[in-house]
């Protein structure tokens, strides 16, 4: 068995009286790809934010490669080698694609190395033609791709993506899938996602959230055919 890179123990987050994340025990091993699904308000994003340091959990612990990171700031977690992409596109709109990726690379490399790294990633993501354009002028799919570039350029061993396929065209999604598969060669990847099409095409193991807690965790085919999951999630969606 590969090493456990991300683990939460009894992670709980309360907002006033609302329990948004309820006693979540979660384990992820190196180079694993895991999708988190669940209906709106199931607590996927809260869980994501607690793990990335954007929120501090009310109770419970988070461990990364065996080190406790509960209550750390996002930048401390990122410094460990964790790549994070938030739900809304979070990029520097008035800087160019190259500048954006260079800034991400500079965190872990010297000035010259960062330049080479950035160029390599731009090549790999086929962003050459727009490398000098400001992010604000790009289409949504391109911006999402650049943000994945920001994540990939740091050579992370753990990647956390919140709805990477949201609002993208079929062609963009396909390209995104390729990039994510490439990422799993070096890193464990967690994807929070709504889009069932996308999940079917990419996922192996899926964790289903419902009312803040983990409902079940199994292979994607089993999850999809499970009666309870259908009721809480797919059934609702279809109905």
């Amino acid at each position: 068995m590969a090493e456990v890179v991300l683990e939460t123990q009894a992670l709980t987050m309360r907002f006033g009286g609302v329990v948004a994340s309820d006693n979540v025990n979660f384990k992820l091993r190196a180079r694993e790809l895991r999708c988190l699904i669940g209906p709106n308000g199931a607590g996927k994003s809260t869980f994501f934010k607690c793990v990335t340091g954007l929120l501090t959990p009310t109770e419970g612990q988070v461990f990364m490669r065996g080190q406790e990171t509960t209550g750390w700031m996002p930048h401390q977690i990122a410094s460990l080698g964790v790549g994070i992409k938030t739900q809304t596109p979070n990029v520097m709109d008035y800087l160019s694609v190259f500048e954006n990726i260079w800034l991400a690379a500079r965190r872990f490399h010297s000035v010259d190395e960062a330049k080479h790294k950035a160029e390599a990633v731009i090549d790999r993501l086929a962003l050459n033609s727009i490398a000098r354009s400001d992010l604000g002028n790009l289409a949504h799919g391109e911006r999402q791709r650049v943000e994945l570039g920001l994540v990939a350029v740091g050579d992370p061993w753990l990647v956390l993506l919140d709805e990477p396929a949201a609002g993208m065209s079929a062609e963009d999604v396909e390209r995104m899938t390729e990039i994510i598969h490439e990422l799993t060669k070096i890193a464990a990847v967690v994807i929070v996602e709504h889009d069932m099409q996308f999940i079917r095409s990419i996922a192996e193991t899926v964790t289903v959230f419902h009312q803040g807690a983990v409902l079940m965790e199994d292979h994607v085919d089993k999850v999809m055919s499970d009666e309870t999951v259908r009721n809480v999630y797919l059934g609702k969606k279809a109905g």
């Binding site: 990335t52 700031m73 996002p74 930048h75 990122a78 410094s79 994070i84 992409k85 938030t86 979070n90 990029v91 520097m92 709109d93 008035y94 800087l95 500048e99 260079w102 800034l103 991400a104 500079r106 965190r107 872990f108 000035v111 400001d134 002028n137 920001l150 740091g154």
Partner: protein, 345 residues
């Protein structure tokens, strides 16, 4: 890269050299000196606001702190070299403490504005109330609203009797301004400067990349304060008296106006805005038809409404449009820098 840097330095030196040679033939060096000092003060805010996205309503506090520190240290020490250094360090340390408190608290624009404004007021009220003889630091009396006169002014390092004044003082100030400009330019070209711009653009993203945003903003804030403190010390030498008016809200307002009129996100904008408006004020001071404050206020309102990016970016984008090399995609940069935090309001 190296090439462009060399060209930039050369350009700076040529333009500065021309200005230092030409301007004294048009305006008295006494007036020019204070214009340079205001230019430096505008530059200090232009750095942290235009390149770091930190809106400080109390830059005057660091200016005043630099001036008072110099005056007090000069009286106690009796020469000027060490006091100049202390006058840079004290505002920088004050800004480090204040900045750490604000930025680690994740405060947004408006709250930053309130706190910096309030700190300025505290200093102003405190200094204003120190008229009594019990308020002494070493052998220096704080003097309350009368200020502190009669301290040792700038001398040649190591020789307290060789005063630098008049034309010589103008050249000293001009050279210091050029040095500060070159140092800040180098800073902005460095990784630190580019990361600062990244933080200005998107704090969350930069912290998710692993940058300690609070620490970097605190350091940039302190650098701005150090430059403002240096300007304050030079001002103390020029005026030969320091008064609580240096800390006033009016002074803070003026610094902000300089930056807006000159243009945020540029290096030269705030300097030119400061020198230009200060000269305008000086020229207007000669007449009594229209009140000075009225015109300053009107300029600020009109710029916010009609030319929000400021003069320097406006002129340079006009230049680019006329010579059609590259479309000006960053036209509304200055306005954007200012209103970046509106969602948090």
């Amino acid at each position: 890269m190296q090439d462009r840097m060399g060209k930039d330095v050369l350009m700076t030196l040529v333009v500065a050299g021309l200005l230092i040679w030409l301007l004294p033939q048009l305006v008295s060096t006494y007036t020019l000196t204070v214009l340079i000092i205001y230019g430096m003060l505008g530059f200090s805010l232009g750095l942290i606001w235009g390149f770091g996205g930190i809106l400080c309503f109390g830059q005057a506090a660091f200016f005043g702190l630099g001036a008072y520190t110099y005056a007090i240290a000069a009286i106690n020490i009796g020469e000027s070299t060490l006091p100049m250094i202390i006058a840079i360090l004290v505002p920088a340390i004050a800004a480090l403490l204040l900045g750490a408190m604000m930025f680690y608290g994740r405060l947004t624009d408006v709250y930053l504005g309130v706190i910096t404004l309030v700190v300025t007021l505290i200093l102003f009220k405190f200094i204003n109330s120190t008229a009594g003889p019990q308020y002494m630091i070493g052998t220096a009396r704080l003097g309350g609203f009368n200020g502190i006169p009669g301290f040792q002014t700038l001398n040649v390092p190591g020789d307290p009797d060789a005063y630098i004044w008049g034309d010589a003082y103008f050249y000293v100030c001009a050279v210091i301004m050029v040095l500060v400009y070159l140092l800040v330019s180098a800073l902005l070209r460095s990784s630190f400067g580019r990361i600062a711009v990244g933080i200005r653009e998107n704090e969350t993203r930069m912290s998710l990349m692993g940058y300690d945003v609070a620490a970097r903003k605190t350091i940039l804030f302190a650098i701005g304060a150090a430059i403002a403190g240096l300007a304050g010390a030079l001002f103390a030498n020029w005026g030969e008296i320091v008064t609580p008016g240096l800390f006033s809200l009016g002074q803070s307002a003026e610094i902000i106006i300089w930056c807006i009129v000159g243009g945020l996100g540029t290096r030269s904008g705030p300097i030119l805005g400061a020198a230009g408006l200060a000269y305008l004020k000086f020229a207007l001071g000669q007449q009594s038809l229209i009140d000075n404050t009225l015109i300053t206020g009107l300029i600020l309102v009109l710029f916010v409404l009609f030319l929000p990016k400021g003069l320097v970016p406006a002129i340079s984008s006009l230049w680019k449009v006329s010579f059609a090399r590259r479309s000006p995609s960053r036209v509304h940069q200055a306005r954007r820098i200012r209103n970046r935090g509106r969602a948090n309001g």
